[in-house]
């Protein structure tokens, strides 16, 4: 298993180093326009939020996997974990606002000892939609997780799970040896309780991201391939495939630099800039919360340590919808991944 950048004391484990890298080089030299210049040219600067609909809460960076592209730099060595008290603060905000979706992510969120409590409470207070970003293999990682599919079902959770390819080879190269096979087993268990079946109303979406330094293809066409292949070979059903462009931060940034693909990848993103994707970027309808309760415009900014603008509030204890709605979203060059081609968000393509 590879190790997290953190465990390796890699310099990119420091958030400032990543931001520095993205701000300098080809962008500083003017070889490529910055994201700010680019959105200014189409009158989207400063980037402003629309109505807040999604609360994406990252309840910890611990994970049973160590995927090569992970933007969280998650792994078994990461100890950052959200307490029940912070979860309660998130629930308070959800109870007081019209935010309809709670999107729980990590790491592997299920590894947080208060994960089930959090989901159950969210359900109890009437949060309309609860999404769990499950990596699938966690379900089979330990007997204590075996009943997760029925727990998810009982609470009407929508599952979003990464599966970068419908074959073992590419999947395992990105996510680790044997991950594909275990993921397929987990998908079968989810299917068994009704997930991904049209009639059940239990939503199981898969997330596709490219297994290298290239952009995702057309979402509908990839979905068709995934559906056919997974059905034919493993008899698996799922609802939608969401394509996500890899964001050049953390371990994926490390991969880009190490493989000599960084400049070309950034150029590709810039050239694929699609003004029509800008209104759909997820920071416009989402707030991201970290394990300590700090607020960010998105999960990527969270990993870069770029908190919401200081003119708005920056901590859950201080949550103020009004100030947040007036904030300027914090941007940098990694944002180009959200606006390339058909655009990209945690809900897949946007344009």
């Amino acid at each position: 298993m590879i190790k997290s950048l953190h465990a390796r004391h890699h310099q990119l484990a420091q958030q400032e180093k990543q931001v520095e890298y993205l701000s300098n080089g080809i962008f500083k030299e003017g070889k490529l326009p910055t994201f700010q210049q680019k959105i200014k040219s189409v009158n989207f600067f400063p980037l402003k939020p629309a109505a807040l609909e999604i609360f994406q809460v990252n309840i910890g960076y611990m994970c049973n996997q160590v995927c090569k592209h992970c933007h969280v730099d998650a792994g078994p060595d990461r100890r950052e974990i959200m307490t029940r008290q912070t979860m309660q603060q998130c629930l308070n905000v959800l109870a007081q606002t019209k935010i309809h979706t709670l999107d729980i992510t990590g790491g592997a969120p299920e590894m947080n000892p208060d994960f089930r409590w959090f989901v159950a409470e969210a359900k109890r207070i009437g949060v309309q939609e609860i999404i769990v970003r499950s990596n699938l293999t966690i379900i089979l990682a330990n007997p204590k997780y075996y009943d997760l599919p029925s727990f998810f079902k009982e609470h009407g959770v929508r599952i979003c799970s990464s599966l970068p390819f419908y074959k073992a080879d590419k999947t395992d190269r990105q996510r680790g040896e044997g991950v594909f096979e275990t993921s397929v087993e987990a998908l079968k268990l989810l299917n068994e309780v009704g997930y991904g079946k049209e009639e059940s109303g239990l939503i199981l979406d898969l997330v596709y991201n490219p297994t290298g330094a290239f952009l995702p293809g057309d979402q509908m066409q990839l979905q068709r391939d995934f559906k056919k292949e997974l059905k034919d070979h493993s008899n698996i059903d799922f609802n939608s495939l969401l394509t996500i462009t890899n964001i050049p931060i953390s371990r994926y940034l490390d991969f880009l630099i190490e493989s000599g693909n960084y400049e070309e990848y950034m150029e590709k993103l810039v050239n694929a800039f699609n003004p029509a994707a800008v209104p759909g970027v997820m920071c416009r309808n989402t707030i991201s919360v970290d394990w300590q309760g700090n607020l960010y415009d998105c999960d990527f900014n969270q990993m870069l340590g770029l908190k919401t603008s200081s003119a708005a509030c920056q901590h859950i204890s201080d949550f103020d919808m009004e100030r947040l709605s007036r904030r300027d979203i914090v941007i940098n060059q990694h944002c180009f991944a959200c606006t390339a081609g058909a655009g990209s968000s945690c809900q897949g393509a946007v344009a």
């Binding site: 390819f165 074959k167 080879d169 490219p210 290298g212 290239f214 293809g217 066409q221 990839l222 391939d225």
Partner: protein, 112 residues
Amino acid sequence: MENNTYYNSADLKKFGNIADWDKNLAAKFFDYYGEVFKEGDLTAREKSLIALAVAHTVQCPYCIDAYTQDSLEKGATEKGMMEAIHVAAAIRGGASLVHGVMMMNKAKKLSM
């Protein structure tokens, strides 16, 4: 600009510049090109793999660069991409060999 190689990878991005010296024909070509690669009875991925095989047949480095990437984006596997090139190689090799019959015909005619 001084350049000692016939091919320069940066030139691929300048493909569109052919319009500088004949806008009309370039527009017609790129229009046609775009239409060709749209999904039809063949999927976009199948078309990309055909393009990759043809790229190896005409041995165009720009096309190999572009369609390796395009095939990956369209969700082709590395094995599938290699299979496509073998198709090109088989047709290429076969095309030489099947002409062996022509050679044989001629040789037979000429010989006692």
